[in-house]
Symmetry: C2
Subunit: 353 residues, 2 copies
């Protein structure tokens, strides 16, 4: 019997988020029903509620950094039991039979993963709705176990900001001896600093804003370079093996390319759309430098990341939020006025009663 679920939703690309009630399905045999406790607020929530990527459907309940407690399990579900603390990230399903799915790379599912919200359930074709809600029902294959010792509030952003930075740092084998730079100090950037530092790399933050040095060092940076200062940029020419670019808005990549050393790679994780201004081929050809990109991570790797965080004391820096303040939080995110991730206390949904 469908379960009436309180939430906050955008009704259109131009309206603020507000209270909304919808039905969650009964658990299917392989499903887990989760009582949501906390949900992180991702920059992509803002993009999608405003239809910045021209693929939004409404009403839309955003949220894909979900931490909660298992409330019920389907008849064939074996991984979890009621009471378990769990997480759900950006995906709730995938085809499970293509080559990437069979190799634990569900984020690259050739038949497109089912996204946690603003997607379509691949079985009943209903719209998927995210974590700004009191309950979610997800195939157990896409549910993560929250390890002992991880604070559930500050773990929420690990499900997107965490894995989005962890996965490329691992894929490109960042470790002791690596010289790494992170561009941007937001939700993704602060996790990039923490992970790169935890992996043993020498870590630099690129930022446009002076005054972030102390914060950056606290988060794991060894050096801070003001990217608008040509002298500082020149001083780090040919320096980095790897640059993780977390900036979600248009920006010039060319000055950063010159700071990569021979065979270095710049990986985009924040920007969806055209690269403007365009890139020159010179740094590619003269230094065999590369540009690449990376989305979140697979389910197995996301579990590995959570376990790594628990074992190494890595968490997100969060500011807790009542859901009634979500529109103000979006406005503050646009000004980068958050250190470093808003997390909604889903208990606040009850205040609207």
């Amino acid at each position: 019997m469908p379960f009436a679920t309180r939430a906050y939703a955008a009704q259109s690309a131009t309206t603020p988020l507000g209270p909304f009630t919808f039905d969650r399905r009964d658990p299917r045999p392989d499903d887990v029903a989760i009582e949501i406790l906390y949900c992180g607020v991702c920059h992509s929530d803002l993009h999608q509620t405003r239809n910045d990527w021209n693929n939004s459907t409404f009403p839309m309940v955003p949220g894909h950094e979900i931490i909660g407690r298992v409330a019920a399990v389907g008849s064939a579900a074996t991984k979890f039991k009621p009471g378990d603390m769990v997480g759900v990230g950006c995906m709730v399903d995938s085809c499970q039979h293509c080559d990437p799915c069979q190799h634990g790379l569900e984020q690259f599912c050739e038949n497109v993963p089912t996204f946690t919200y603003n997607g379509t359930d691949r079985h009943d074709h209903s719209p998927t709705q995210g974590g700004y809600s009191e309950r979610i029902v997800v195939s157990e294959k896409f549910v993560l176990r929250l390890p002992e010792g991880l604070d559930p509030k500050s773990a929420a952003p690990l499900l997107c900001a965490g894995i989005t930075t962890y996965s490329p740092l691992r894929h490109w084998k960042v470790g002791p001896g690596s010289k790494v730079a992170i561009i941007g100090l937001g939700g993704l950037g602060h996790m990039g600093l923490k992970f790169a530092h935890a992996f043993g790399a020498n870590v630099t933050l690129f930022t446009r804003s002076p005054g972030k040095e102390d914060e950056a060092r606290r988060l794991g940076a060894h050096d801070v370079v003001i990217s608008t200062d040509p002298e500082q940029m020149k001083a780090v020419a040919n320096r980095f093996d790897f640059i993780l670019d977390t900036v979600p808005t248009k920006h010039d990549l060319n000055p950063y390319m010159a700071t990569l050393k021979l065979d270095g790679t710049l990986v985009l994780v924040g920007l969806l759309g055209p690269i403007e201004p365009t890139l020159s081929t010179l740094p590619f050809i003269t230094g065999r430098r590369s540009v690449s990109g990376s989305p979140i991570g697979g389910i197995a790797e996301t579990q590995e990341m959570l376990d790594f965080c628990a074992a190494n004391g890595v968490t997100s820096d969060v500011e807790m939020l009542d859901i009634q303040n979500i529109n103000e939080a979006y406005a503050r995110m646009l000004k980068s006025d958050v250190r470093y991730r808003f997390v909604i206390d889903i208990a606040s949904l009850k205040k609207d009663q």
Copy 2:
């Protein structure tokens, strides 16, 4: 005593090439003096004589695909003796002490390699002049041995077109099981087909021009895709591990990005300048695809390439040319009217007497 040397030179960016006489230096202790027999005509000769890259100095004697015979050696030179058949490519010197130089990657010399022409000698600061001339004097470290069994005429283009395609195919580990595409069927492209085939890859040619199928197959392609046909492009979506883009003029990379599979790389070797139209980040982020670039190769790798060619019967397809016809040859190159590389018979210089 400097050696008066006949050549063909451009006197400015707007004048055709014509006869020119200049002095070659006496061999320094580590030098080899080479009587030039053949010199390939590279697309970059055209760019540089026309100052397309805004770095040209005149008078300019182009030519960096040089095959000749050792005429004399300096007092401390030990690698070669008079009569040896040798080659000279795009570089005649480098700093020899930076990290890339010490690892045999002189093409990435941090203090900039000395280019064979349109460069400046790092010892006497004289302008370097290339292979459209009867003699050249080069440090023996930058002289290649022409292996037994390689035809000297068709070996000339290996010194630039050959190594420029060989090096990235090796660096990105193209071999049996690789699905590779080559964009463009010119001097570089035809060598790309031959090497990718010789390395055991499955090879596709992308071309805008129908009617090249038989030629492409003769040169090593298993398939030919007309890049202007959306149906054919769609049929190869997500197909290639590696794409070698040899096109030297502005072109849209986005349609090719979609033909790379997960973790595939497109490597630019022909285009110097801005990427226009610009790239979308979507294929990067959704498929961890990369764009990179590569210039020629190091001296040791260039020797390895020549030895590979001799052992495996790989050579360039050439059309021989008297130097008096060089301006006509440039005009034909602009129309891609050559199969696939012009090579100047330097003996023709004597006809101007």
